[in-house]
Amino acid sequence: MTRPATTDDAPPPPTGPRALEAVLLPTLSAVVLIAIWQAAVVVTKTQIFPSPLAVVRGIAELSRKGVLGIYVRDSLFRVGAGYFLALLCGIPLGIALGWYSAAARAINPVIQFLRPISPLAWIPVAIVLFGVSNAAAIFLIFLASFFPIVVAAMNGVRNVPAMYLQAGRNFGLSTPALFSRVIFPAALPRVLTGLRVALGVAWIVVVAAEMIAVNSGLGYLVIDSRNAGKRYDLVVAAMLLIGVIGLALNTLVRQIERLRAVRWGFNAP
């Protein structure tokens, strides 16, 4: 069975004593990390970098002021909107490029040329086009997630084994039926991998976009906390939230990859 190339394959979910281990070990490393952090703050007697406790107080303060929920919501909304648009355009385009090799020859070079340009390089262009606004941030998220999605869908369709297509035709499927009943389900695991990668990139980019293009969100919180009085406790609090939400998003998409109709593409039997 062909496996799509994934960068970080998770081991299969363990059971029994190993399930306990799977919870205990990461908890242990988190505790050690926090201890090192605390020790480093104490030993260096830093006045700038916050202790873990100060960060927790910072999160509580943000929550009390009511900005925490708003910032998280704004960041998630921008990612959601840009990502959804990218998905809406990227999947059909990718499937079409994977199927029609002439179209791929025409358009693929353009995609491969645009793809390595960091979405952050587009920030000035986004501001010119949309001003300092939600639309600018959403545009950047769209750019960031569009290319991984198109490329994954294209490769997914290209790599559908000829045998499946031949079997589909043999059973008398029309071309639309071949797409919906053979090509799409066969390409789906690769498409999902692309969606997961794109969501990760989108989350990275929203933080950067918010530092420049808008006045709310977790990225804005990072830069605003630093600029408005060097509140490094709030900077680190925002960083922690960004990490936790990124992890949650990744876990969410991984749940989709566990569905039985696509699991064949991710786990060896």
Partner: protein, 254 residues
């Protein structure tokens, strides 16, 4: 062709040439073959002799360079659900369950009839209890059964089997051969079976068509006039096997 049954598949003067890097490679040369209704014919030849190409042309997946293929007198131009091609077990759809695979090609039946037909073929290939399993949870032999059942469920007249048991271990392969014969006797399909395994061809076929190395042409057609179940140590079986070995030019001593 004489005989009680009518001709199902007629191949006449069939040749195939591939173009690669400006070179012409002739893979099949002037094949003439009639397959009778309900007959099980093995096409036997060494690797690369064009036997799979022959099956793909007969199945309508590839055009012939010259010559004709006709089924029931009508020329073959494209794949047709009345004639199903069975690959090695890798042809099952991994995103569908056993039931989903077997029901894949069934059209025009009410849901109840469809469920009943799926259940019938699940039983026929002995996969009861695995209806909701996904292919990755099955062994190679079970996946091959799913593929055969998926083909039979659309009630085709002809089955094309392209080295169907080639990827299975030798014990499973023996089991699958007798399963195929049992199903063939129950369903009375015309079967074209491509293999490079001499023993396999002598064990299952009514006739063995021996192809030469590339370009593949028919060297000889051997009638295997042995009733099923076949005694694999009978002198007649051994004589037939040895004559094919000799035809292919292999000494049968290692």
């Amino acid at each position: 062709m004489t005989g009680s049954a009518s001709v199902k598949v007629r191949i006449q003067g069939l040749s195939k040439t591939f173009q690669t890097n400006g070179n012409e490679i002739r893979v099949l040369d002037n094949i003439d073959l009639d397959v009778r209704e309900g007959e099980l014919v093995c096409i036997l030849g060494p690797s690369g002799c064009g036997k799979s190409t022959l099956l793909n042309i007969v199945g309508g997946f590839l055009p012939a360079s010259s010559g004709d293929v006709a089924i029931d007198g009508a020329p073959v131009r494209e794949p047709d659900p009345r004639r199903i091609f069975v690959f090695q077990e890798r042809g099952v759809f991994p995103w569908l369950t056993v039931e989903g695979n077997i029901g894949f090609g069934i059209n025009g039946l009410s849901p109840a009839e469809k469920t009943e037909r799926i259940a019938h073929y699940v039983r026929l290939v002995g996969l009861q209890g695995f209806e909701n399993a996904y292919p990755q949870e099955l062994s190679g032999g079970m996946k091959q059964r799913v593929e055969v059942a998926r083909a039979l469920a659309v009630n085709p007249d002809v089955l094309y089997l392209d080295e169907p048991f080639g990827a299975l271990d030798s014990i499973t392969r023996l089991v699958m051969r007798s399963e195929l014969l049992r199903i063939w006797e129950a369903e009375k399909k015309t079967i074209l079976f491509v293999t490079h395994d001499i023993e396999e061809s002598c064990q299952i076929a009514d006739r063995v068509v021996v192809l030469s190395a590339r370009p593949g042409s028919i060297r000889r057609i051997v009638d295997v006039d042995l009733p099923h179940p076949r005694d694999l140590s009978s002198p007649r079986y051994l004589a037939l096997r040895d004559s094919i070995l000799a035809e292919i030019g292999l000494a049968h001593r290692i």
